[in-house]
Subunit: 149 residues, 2 copies
DNA sequence: TTCTTAAATAAGAATAATTCTTATTTAAGT
DNA sequence: ACTTAAATAAGAATTATTCTTATTTAAGAA
């Protein structure tokens, strides 16, 4: 955990080293993001910013958040793409998700099944589901990337 | 793990006990769901079914999958609602998600941080992220439900 | 078996989230 | 100040999901 001024400093350096421009939009979006604890959507950030910066477009917020993930100053909370995914497998299991092709595989692991919910969480939530969510690139997509130069 | 005939039998019983009608659409969707290992979207199931049952509507597939989750014969793979959620917190942490109001809280837990990736997974995937995803109902939403009668 | 009725469905409109296209603007190095 | 590739704004397009309403049907009752 570090203070916000320091994070912003590092953000600016990151833009430098990654060779992307430090625009007022990007700075505002970054500030909004790190000031929020609510894991905001693009739309949510857009509405907050639109007060101070009325000409910004929602598309820019989307693109910018994507860029932030790419350069490693933000992440997208776990999710499985834009569509809901369903399964009829009600056995206790976990998931690994290829962020490239979207494939989800089931993971069976006894250690994962035994995870305990921390007391400070179970005090505040009635927990309905515990799952270990792994994200990565599947072998097939790795190969495709290799051949891509 | 049980065979499909048995699952379908149990599905029919569940419809009975839950008092929902056993329609041809529901049966087809259920069969399609348990025959698939790909954690399909509503759209995906719709296209598979539309061959055998050309008059089915996509909306029915959506509603039906929702119903299946409610009666406990299917689940929606972990996700955080219809919108992407972002965060600037790059420290190692985990999430608990209220499925009612959508709130996400960060969870810090040393045990969660030490999870190992099973070999059969790391052989097939380059893992980029490991997160424990908890789902439940937050205290506030629990209270609101109590007062709802 | 036929009748009844609440539940379920189909169709299409509506809404919501995200991405694309294109013309214009601008950050940042020269 | 000049140049230029990158970034942005605006609006259209696409994709996912939900809503509305009229019709159909499963399943229990007669």
């Amino acid at each position: 955990m570090m203070n916000k001024e320091r994070k912003i400093e590092l953000f600016k350096e990151k833009c430098q080293t990654k060779g992307i421009k430090l625009t007022p939009q990007r700075l505002l979006i970054y500030e909004e993001l790190i000031n929020s604890t609510e894991h905001p959507t693009a739309e949510r950030i857009y509405s907050s910013i639109t007060q101070k910066f009325p000409t910004i477009s929602l598309d820019t917020v989307h693109r910018t958040l994507e860029t932030f993930c790419t350069i490693g100053v933000a992440t997208m909370a776990e999710g499985l793409g834009n569509s809901k995914r369903f399964e009829g497998n009600m056995d206790n299991h976990h998931h690994v998700h290829c962020v490239q092709c979207g494939m989800i595989h089931d993971v069976y692991d006894a250690n994962y099944d035994q995870l305990l919910v921390p007391p400070q969480v179970s005090q505040e939530f009635k927990i309905l589901k515990k799952i270990v969510h792994l994200e990565g690139i599947c072998r097939k997509c790795q190969t495709e990337y290799e051949n891509m130069d």
